[in-house]
Amino acid sequence: MNGAGDTRAAIGLNLLLFSVGGVAFGVDAEQVEATLSWEGAERDDVTWFHRELGYSGGAVAYRAPSVLVIRTGDSRDYRVVIDMMEDVAGITSDDIHPFPPLVEPFALRKGLWGIMARGGRIILLVDFQRLLRERRDADAHGEVAKDGIA
């Protein structure tokens, strides 16, 4: 959001919009190398979005799954099964809200970096490269979940 006297130019972004388990997400299209149809067979190099994000409550029903191949900048593939690919939306950085301070530390650990309000709903912006980095850091340090209570 531009504040008074803020003269910076808004940055344009193309978002791929999808939903998983009734929650709407957007990912910067530049992070996505390809979108593949889901073949229905479990593969070691493919992870499920709800598992990556740590959905609570167990199973999540996918109605129209597809696979995002994420650019990682290294030789390793990062493929994530998402659901309900809906739209491509052109937005600017002015359309994006940061997470509220209480929520942001937890959100960032899951690669969630911003929020967009659109059509009466809230869309969570996910950075798969950040998510991958957070996961690798957590694996490296053997971290356990923190609840932020003093």
Binding site: V23, S56, H97, P100, V103, I122, I149, A150
Partner: protein
């Protein structure tokens, strides 16, 4: 019997008594008062200082976000501003509420701001600070960490909670 300036001793005494009364009246008038917002949560009555509550919102959609702790049920959209929501029941040791039926008290205390899920608003009243009594020693659990004291309202006891303590409890 008169004093040197011909005033009666009774006049001197009466003046002194009146000064004393006036001083007493001033103390009564200027007794510090504080506004409190009384609300219910799981059939219990609680209150926050009014200075910590910006507004009360009716039940609205709370947008779940993956990876949040149990006391943060999600986000709300308040006239275009995205705010966090705290489930106060988590800290009061009560069963979780249905987010779809709760009101949201918009809290602000210094840099801390968030919605707080409550069941309903009972009243907003001004009370003398002296009416705030120390909390019952029998009050236990997590709730005790948040309590400033107790007040009486409508024949019932209301537990006064400290927004600053709640803010401090949720580390950033």
């Amino acid at each position: 019997m008169t004093t040197s300036d011909d005033r009666l001793k009774s006049e001197e005494l009466l003046d002194e008594i009146k000064r004393h009364y006036r001083a007493g009246e001033v103390v009564d008038v200027e007794e510090e008062r504080v506004k409190v917002v009384i609300f219910t949560s799981a059939a219990q009555r609680y209150a926050f200082y009014g200075s910590a509550i910006r507004e009360i919102l009716p039940a609205c959609e709370i947008w779940w976000v993956p990876g949040l702790p149990e006391y943060l049920p999600g986000l709300i959209n308040v006239r275009g501003d995205i705010e966090s929501v705290i489930d106060i029941r988590y800290f009061l040791g009560e069963e979780r509420a249905d987010p779809g039926t709760c009101h949201i008290a918009m809290a602000a205390w210094g840099a801390f701001h968030s919605g707080v899920m409550i069941d309903s608003i009972e009243d907003v009243v001004d009370i003398p600070v002296s009416a705030i009594e120390p909390p019952l020693s029998t009050l236990g659990g997590t709730a005790r960490d948040l309590v400033i004291g107790e007040i009486r309202h409508g024949g019932a006891t209301v537990t006064l909670l400290d927004m600053a303590k709640l803010a401090a409890k949720i580390t950033l």
